[in-house]
């Protein structure tokens, strides 16, 4: 029984340390802004993809012009210089999951992140050709594009069940 108190005390300290490491506490504001910017970029991706998806699913009527515009946005987004968003040290392992879901592996030597970004550009380029060219061609171009998004997330963003 003698051990009880120190053990509980130790657990408390460990608990406090563990929560400070992962909670919403302050990080360097410059890094926080960079992370916010890349998440915003990702949300713009999702927003534009959303229009194409809604047409592909048949939730809204196919509109060639609107579809082509959304595809061009996606393509432009994928060609932007993102180097300032992805600053070294802004990974989940360093900052905790509350700040970012981006995995350290992005910055590893021989990381394939660049290839993934290129694959995205290939598929958004294909979508700019396809989107205005009828519903069926839009639907077909969705598969590879969705895979380009998901494939990068699979390897470089932490999974919810992990």
């Amino acid at each position: 029984m003698k051990f009880t108190l120190p053990v509980i005390g130790g657990l408390l300290v460990a608990g406090v340390l563990a929560t400070t490491a992962t909670s919403q506490d302050e990080i360097d504001p410059a890094l926080a802004t960079a992370i916010e910017a890349r998440k915003a970029h990702m949300r713009l991706n999702a927003f534009n993809l959303g229009l194409l998806g809604a047409m592909a699913k048949g939730e809204i009527e196919y509109d060639a012009e609107a579809a082509a515009a959304a595809a061009q946005n996606l393509d432009a987004l994928s060609r932007m210089d993102e180097s300032r968003y992805w600053q070294p040290g802004t990974d989940m392992e360093t900052l905790g999951k509350d700040h970012t879901e981006a995995l350290e592996a992005i910055w590893a030597e021989n990381s394939e992140i660049g290839d993934r970004a290129e694959t995205l550009t290939e598929t958004t380029a294909a979508m700019t050709e396809a989107a205005g060219d009828g519903l069926e061609s839009l639907q077909q171009a969705m598969g590879p594009l969705a895979k380009a998004c998901g494939g990068c997330h699979e390897d470089f963003r932490v999974a919810d069940d992990n």
Binding site: N45, L49, G53, K57, G58, C149, G150, E154, D161, N162
Partner: protein, 295 residues
């Protein structure tokens, strides 16, 4: 004193006999497969719907590499870690297996040499597969590339090392009843078959009871992740407010209704579902929408 001891011994022997009897591995009636011949093309659909590649392809395999069923995928559970075997058509895998052997494995969890498989091989689901589909699946598996990777041992401790005990697990947990008892349209019937006989969706999305069996009263109501981290979401109609179209599109592309992409173990399930027809994915969505609401 002696009499009591004698009585105990008799009881133990009787208990042992009962254990032996209750735990005997079952086999399929050989007539089930008599005159059934397999069609590899149809078998491919069964293969993807059954998700065999998710567990039997080498970990991390993508694209066509998912057709090399070398095994080695690790399934972490409270009972230990199971490592999937090689089931490619090679000496290390399933070379020489008959359709009936595969039938015994899928329908009863029984190996060609008459031992129990562990339920981490989801035969609790596959017991519903039609004999014709098993023959088709076998024909497809025979067309896949061989791999000579040797099987790795499971990492389970006593008493789970005793396979015979799995017989009791089967007695308690294997039931041939459908969960969705009323499938009122051909689409729902197809969806039920895809989910309850093939898709083993419940293996992740349904919580387990103390024996590690699925708690069928909480069908698809979400569950802790067996590997211990995070939770697998509920997909019953009261908890998942996606439209049937959203669900079908998610299974096709991995895109959620807010156009983020699916993550975790669901990624590999979606890679399988992408090989099905649109009608089949729509049937799965209709099935999920028809499930009883969890109170």
């Amino acid at each position: 004193m002696k009499r009591i001891l004698g009585l105990l011994i008799i009881l133990a022997l009787l208990g042992g006999a009962a254990f032996w009897f209750l735990t005997a591995p079952q086999r399929a009636d050989p007539d089930l497969f008599a005159g059934v011949s397999g069609d590899a093309e149809r078998g491919e659909t069964i293969f993807w719907a059954g998700g065999c590649a998710s567990c039997h392809a080498a970990p991390g395999a993508k694209g066509d590499d998912r057709l090399v069923l070398a095994g080695g995928y690790r399934i972490v559970s409270p009972f230990g870690t199971f490592v999937t075997p090689n089931i490619s058509p090679s000496g290390e895998g399933m070379a020489g297996w008959s359709v009936e052997d595969l039938g015994n494995a899928l329908l009863h969890g029984t190996s060609p040499d008459g031992r129990h498989y562990y339920p981490s091989f989801p035969y609790g689901t596959y017991q519903h597969i039609e004999p014709q589909d098993i023959a088709d699946l076998k024909a497809f598996l025979d067309t896949l590339p061989p791999s000579d990777t040797a099987d790795a041992p499971h990492e389970v401790g006593f008493p789970f090392t005793i396979r015979r005990g799995v017989g009791l697990w089967k007695r308690v947990n294997m039931t041939s009843d459908w969960v969705l008892q009323e499938a009122t349209t051909p689409e729902l019937e197809r969806g039920r078959y895809l989910v309850e006989a093939l898709g083993h969706c419940a293996e992740c999305h349904t919580p387990r009871d103390m024996t590690g069996g699925l708690d069928r009263s909480q069908w698809m109501a979400g569950a802790p992740n067996p590997s211990g981290k995070g939770r697998i979401p509920a997909i019953t109609p009261d908890k998942l407010d996606w439209s049937a179209t959203d669900i079908a599109y998610y299974l096709e592309t991995g895109l959620t209704p807010d156009y983020d992409s699916a993550g975790g173990q669901m990624v590999s399930v979606i890679a399988n579902m992408g090989h099905l027809t649109k009608e089949d994915r729509t049937a799965i969505a209709a099935y999920l929408k028809a499930l009883p609401q969890d109170g």
